[in-house]
């Protein structure tokens, strides 16, 4: 009797442990119970800011890169950029040439004649404000983070300057500010967008190649744009889920 009881209790404990363990595992797996939003939509947030960049419209004038430097006090040396413009030139022989002299800030120039060129286009680059940001993931102290609106920001009074985030960004969008020695990056002009303005790069774009908006707002220009165009993101294999999307992004772009 006594013995049986003991056994029962042991069985109970064993089963209980199995059950809890099983539940833990199951709750960790839950394969398709969560919705996957193709257009990077976030139910839990009030706003979920993003940007569309229309490569077809970009004329490579570099005003975005220039305005960004002025707006955000980015050092003017040609190796610190929050946004820059790359010029891709595919020659008839198949070779690919990428240039971005001074971040394209002074406008673009072309060294090849139209006869040699197979195709050519501009790609404005900026922080992709990834939903799975590798940079905020690796910050050891919580000095770079995603704001409730999905904007990747830096806390300049808290950053220790370890540079791990710079290494972690697959897009090369971060730099260490030469004066303050802390990480700096595109904030999607957080001070502007929370104040009803558009980011400075979009403000000065002569051809409206950039469209800022709220991905949660189905009627926003951004969401409408995403609906109508075949958009693409940079380095999708990184699974960073960027909130910056490109229209007419060519396969040559890295």
């Amino acid at each position: 009797m006594e013995l049986k009881n003991k056994k029962n209790r042991r069985d109970f404990l064993k089963n209980g442990a199995l059950l809890t363990g099983g539940m833990l595992i199951a709750s960790g797996m839950k394969p398709f119970s969560a919705l996957v939003y193709a257009t990077n939509h976030n139910e839990d947030a009030e706003h979920w800011y993003g940007m569309a960049i229309d490569i077809e419209k970009c004329i490579g004038c570099g005003n975005c890169a220039k305005a960004c430097k002025i707006e955000n006090d980015v050092p003017e040396e040609p190796f610190f950029f929050r946004t820059w413009v790359e010029q891709y030139t595919i020659l008839n022989d198949g070779s690919k040439i990428i240039t971005s002299e001074n971040g394209g800030l002074n406008g673009a120039s072309q060294d090849y004649t139209p006869d040699e060129i197979f195709k050519s286009f501009f790609v404005p680059k900026m922080c992709n404000h990834c939903t799975n940001s590798p940079c905020t993931q690796v910050c050891p102290v919580g000095a770079t983070f995603e704001s409730p609106e999905g904007v990747a920001l830096v806390d300049s009074t808290y950053c220790i300057g370890c540079r791990y985030c710079v290494q972690a960004c697959p897009y090369g969008c971060r730099y260490i500010h030469p004066k303050t020695k802390i990480a700096d990056k595109c904030t999607l002009c957080y001070h502007r967008i929370t104040n009803g303005q558009v980011p400075a790069c979009q403000e000065v774009c002569p051809t409206n190649a950039k469209i800022f908006g709220d991905l949660n707002d189905r009627s926003s220009e951004l969401v409408q744009f995403i609906k109508k165009h075949d958009w693409q993101i940079l380095k999708p294999h990184m699974n960073t889920k960027p909130k910056v999307v490109y229209n007419a992004l060519s396969g040559e772009v890295n």
Binding site: N63, A67, N106, F121, G142, P148, Q197, E203
Partner: protein
């Protein structure tokens, strides 16, 4: 348990407690408010002053230029694209801190011929042979190129 082990444990206990106390003191106030970061950092990021103020504000005073511009091909371009940020100018217009762009190269940043530019999107000229004798603004008004 021998005495020295007890002392050792005590030492470790003291060190750990000390660390916990120091940690509590040093954690910034707003840390963890929204996530693993200082909540105040959001406000600090917002506090940055915008340099580019937008075309609508320019129109309040420069309505003539504005009218000219909206009627022509440069309608879509923001004043500040060519003149630079207006945050100081709108406070003290007389200071004239804005840039008045000049030279053929300036128009060329958008209009010089480049195969990477779509021809249907922007009219392009060869800076080296399109009416090289004078400045562009002699013939094209920068605010209304066909005027």
């Amino acid at each position: 348990m021998p005495k020295h082990i007890r002392r050792l444990l005590l030492l470790f206990a003291v060190l750990i407690t000390l660390f916990i106390i120091v940690r509590q003191v040093l954690i910034p106030d707003s840390f963890g408010q929204f996530g693993h970061y200082r909540g105040l950092a959001l406000e600090e990021n917002k506090a940055h002053v915008a340099r580019y103020v937008g075309t609508d504000i320019c129109a309040e005073c420069h309505w003539e230029t504005m009218e000219l511009k909206t009627a022509d091909m440069h309608a879509e371009i923001s004043c500040e694209t060519c003149h630079g940020p207006g945050w100081k100018h709108i406070e003290e217009p007389e200071q004239g801190q804005l840039t008045i762009p000049e030279g053929r190269e300036f128009c060329g940043t958008c209009h010089s011929r480049n195969p990477a530019r779509s021809a249907s999107l922007i009219a392009q000229v060869n800076l080296s042979d399109h009416n090289i004798e004078t400045n562009c603004s002699e013939c094209h008004n920068p605010h209304a190129p066909w005027n």
